[in-house]
């Protein structure tokens, strides 16, 4: 059974499933009391892929109304376990019990019928359809967008998830897309909601709002299986935690009694590396310069950029904070050259104006870029790592492509292996796997390593540690700081305030396509950033596209900062 039955769970190791689930829906009391009615029991789940054991005799028990954290580094087997529970994978051995009865879950449809809902880290939405159409697609029964939109508005109001049912998905931010997935699950009134790294795309305020939603759900009797690497929030939100390492359960603990450090130790198996760096002493030379950049919106719900100015000097890390969907992607695309701008002098990299030059020309100037979306943007999932190496290096590394356009595949492979080794990219022993086979954290280490390996003079990176585990995030942040200390300019666009405070020398905030002034990190606190996120610095009137409800955000921001003050 569970490898650590001697733990606090010992007295519960012989469950007594009852046909009638208990009615008390309050969060369960401390462990070791009367045997609870388990909503879901997974016993001895084992799953292997080839010679790799993703889950090795894993057991997990969930009670009604419980928020249960599933912790583990990338590749520890969390996703495999929840995919088995949700029916998208079948276990090689082991059994699932739902409300005390043994069940087989051959497909997600069966899981949904049982009352299991799941919000994936990678969303499955059709970009071309509206919110209500996307939701209608998975609802059983008649296709009736009219009445469905009413229900969507009702559920989103009830749980504080503001959502316009008739917005087109393509025009929504990642945070808004997540809300669609959550609302989609909630409409089916699930008894168990599985959330895969939900806060990796949210601001502290949005995350707080999500926690309120989740607590509200749990109070109503719904169990939540919460997958995360963020230990502070697990501690704040979850009742119990199951920790996986290398496919095995290493501990089952009362999350409220642990510290972030003790959880991290369980997860990683050793102490997590602390980021070091101190404040930088920037050099004179400006490596990334943006001057009065205007960029029209791309599509009816896109964000237009308005008079953005910014300068990043060699040797410093500048962060851009902001709520998802406020022009971060647009700014990134303008900087990378995926979208060209009208005035050549609006953007200068390494001292050369390049607003009308494409991305390859900008790379040749010594700039490097890492977009937000790993699969499909930074890397092509079905292509091997060596081919993905070629993707961003063919135009700026003369050894990659020989005369006549012939690719030096061995050279690409060699560089790829060097990056994998330097940045600790784990691929289960394969030397050149397809990019899609890597876990999120390992792929992110690869795509960042691919750029840092070129020793760029300037790097622009959008959401450096989006959905990445603690170990990989620490490594990535340290690498960015080291890069700056070695004389490069680093511009990190991030929604993660912890990350910004850990790595940045200066910070600016983007809101509705306008950027605040650059502020030294020592001069700002969360509240100040929060006010800027809500658009304090904006000059354009409210009816411009991309209006957000400011009053709410400001209030939430204050609540957030109060909470921070209370629990430093």
């Amino acid at each position: 059974m569970i490898s650590d039955d001697s733990d606090s769970q010992a007295s519960n190791s012989t469950p007594k499933p009852s046909p009638e689930p208990g009615l008390e829906s309050a969060p369960p009391a401390a462990d070791g009391e009367a045997p609870p009615d388990y909503l879901l029991e997974a016993n001895g789940i084992t799953k292997t892929f080839g010679d790799f054991t993703a889950n090795d005799d894993v057991s997990l028990r969930l009670r009604k109304g419980e928020i249960h954290a599933l912790l583990g580094e990338n590749g520890a087997g969390k996703s495999t376990l929840v995919k088995i529970i949700y029916g998208s994978l079948q276990p090689d051995a082991g059994s699932l019990h739902w409300r005390g009865k043994q069940v087989r879950v051959p497909s997600p449809a069966v899981a949904r019928d049982l009352g299991i809902g799941m919000v994936f880290q990678h969303f499955s939405l059709f970009d071309a359809l509206t919110v209500v159409e996307n939701i209608a697609l998975v609802m059983t029964g008649r296709f009736d967008p009219e009445s469905l939109s009413g229900r969507i508005e009702q559920v989103s109001a009830q749980y504080g998830l503001s959502l316009d049912p008739f917005a087109r998905v393509a025009d929504l931010s990642v945070g808004e897309r997540q809300r669609i997935e959550i609302v989609r699950c909630l409409l089916q009134s699930p008894s168990l909601l599985i959330m895969d790294e939900p806060t990796s795309v949210l601001t502290p305020q949005e995350a707080d709002r999500l926690f309120i939603t989740l607590r509200q759900l749990a109070a109503g009797g719904c169990a939540v299986l919460y997958i995360s690497h963020r230990l502070e929030e697990v501690k704040a939100l979850c009742h119990r935690a199951t920790v996986l390492r290398h496919g095995q359960v290493v501990a089952q603990v009362d999350a409220r009694r642990e510290t972030a450090a003790s959880l991290a130790r369980l997860m990683v198996g050793s102490d997590v590396h602390r980021i070091t760096g101190g404040t930088g002493s920037p050099l004179e030379e400006t490596m990334i310069a943006v001057r009065d950049l205007d960029l029209p919106a791309n599509g009816p719900f896109g964000i237009s950029l308005h008079r953005i100015s910014l300068a990043v000097r060699a040797g410093e890390v500048v962060a851009i904070a902001g709520v998802a969907g406020n022009g971060q992607s647009e700014l990134f695309e303008a900087l990378s050259g995926e979208r060209l701008v009208k005035h050549n002098e609006a953007i200068a990299l390494a001292g050369t104006d390049c607003g009308i030059d494409g991305i390859s020309a900008r790379r040749r100037l010594g700039a490097a870029f890492v977009p937000e979306e790993r699969l499909g943007h930074s890397a092509a999932p079905t292509f091997t790592l060596a081919e993905n190496m070629l993707l961003t290096r063919h135009g700026c590394d003369s050894e990659m492509v020989a005369r006549g356009g012939f690719v030096d595949q061995r050279y690409a492979q060699r560089i790829s292996e060097r990056v994998m080794q330097r940045f600790d990219v784990r691929s289960g022993g394969h030397l050149n796997p397809p990019a899609g086979a890597l876990s999120g954290g390992n792929l992110q280490k690869f795509v960042i390593g691919r750029e840092l390996d070129r020793q760029p003079k300037a790097i622009v990176i959008n959401q450096p540690t989006w959905g990445v585990d603690a170990g990989a995030a620490a490594l990535i942040r340290q690498a960015l700081i080291d890069m700056a200390r070695a004389g490069a300019a680093v511009l990190a666009i991030s929604q993660d305030l912890d990350e910004i405070f850990a790595i940045a020398d200066k910070v600016a905030v983007i809101s509705r396509g306008e950027l605040s002034a650059l502020l030294p990190i020592g001069d700002v606190d969360r509240e100040r950033i929060g006010l800027l996120m809500a658009g304090e610095h904006e000059t354009r009137p409210f009816d411009a596209p991309g209006t957000i409800d400011k009053t709410n955000d400001v209030n939430d921001m204050k609540k957030g900062s109060e909470r921070d003050a209370a629990h430093p």
Binding site: V103, G358, S360, A380, E387, F406
Partner: protein, 365 residues
Amino acid sequence: MRLILEKRPERSRWMPFLSPLLAIGLTLVVGGILFAARGLDPLHALYVYFVEPVTTWWSIEELIVKTAPLVLIGVGLAICFKANIWNIGAEGQLTAGAIAGAAIPILLPGWESPMVLPLMILCGIAGGIAWAAIPAFFRHRFGASEILTSLMLVYVALYLLDWLVRGPWRDPHGYNFPHSVSFESWQLLPTLGDGRVHAGALIALLVVFTLFIMMSKTLKGFEIRISGEAPKASGFGGFSRPRTLWFCFILAGGLAGLAGICEVAGPIGQLQPSISPGYGFTAIIVAFLGRLNPVGVLLAGIALGISYLGGEAAQIELTGVSDKTARVFQGMLLFFILACDTLILYRLRWIGTGLATTTPKRGQA
């Protein structure tokens, strides 16, 4: 017991190669059933259709003649499809190439020079490119679906050819039959030996080899593959989507035009209302059966070539079999190959009745 289709944990390694074989097998089985329904002995009919054509040297030569245009067009289409560009108007591009190439012998019948044939071939390629450039332009400039525009242009080209051979380009000494003058020896492709196999077959082999190298070894091939597979990543890599669009249309159009001029300056020897038994459409099947890989296309071209020959043989030897049978077999093959490709990402599994009772019914929860 019921059969379900479930997603494989990862892409199957063998199905991409097994799927075409499975599709061919299923086509033969269903074809046999169709023959049996017509009251024919299915085994004999299949023998006449698929085996007999490769038993004599004469028919093997004929097979090469049929395979060459299929392969030439098929490799171009394979590269288009790889880039997620759906050019299905190769029949029109073939016709435009044939018209453009044939203009020289028809309009300048007396010009005898070693320059004539190379110039005809170049004009043929240019004709195919010009015809393919129309859907490429509409796609690039207005975002119009190339599936519709390229397909519709097929009929424009076919009617243009029809009008030319019945009107201005009709042979004045041809007793009013709708065809052009017959080409002279210097206007025809050299044949290999004394048979009907002409230089077009060698050109096709050369093209297959070149494009195989391009797709597997060069940056251009990488650009095309990634542009179809992950367009956003391709843009991030610095590759331009419009450039890929134009490149693929020009390449496929040029090759279809080349196939067209090779037909009229090869086995046909003149312009006539019908110069192709649907090579441009059959090449779509060739591209998919060949796994969008130039070498695979060569093998698939041979398989589809047999279906044309078998169709002709079956008409003669089997009673009650129409010349449309070849189309039926080709259609079935495309149908089965697309169906079998599902098995690359999915697998079939029987679910026993024993556990079915624990599977909840809809709405129970």
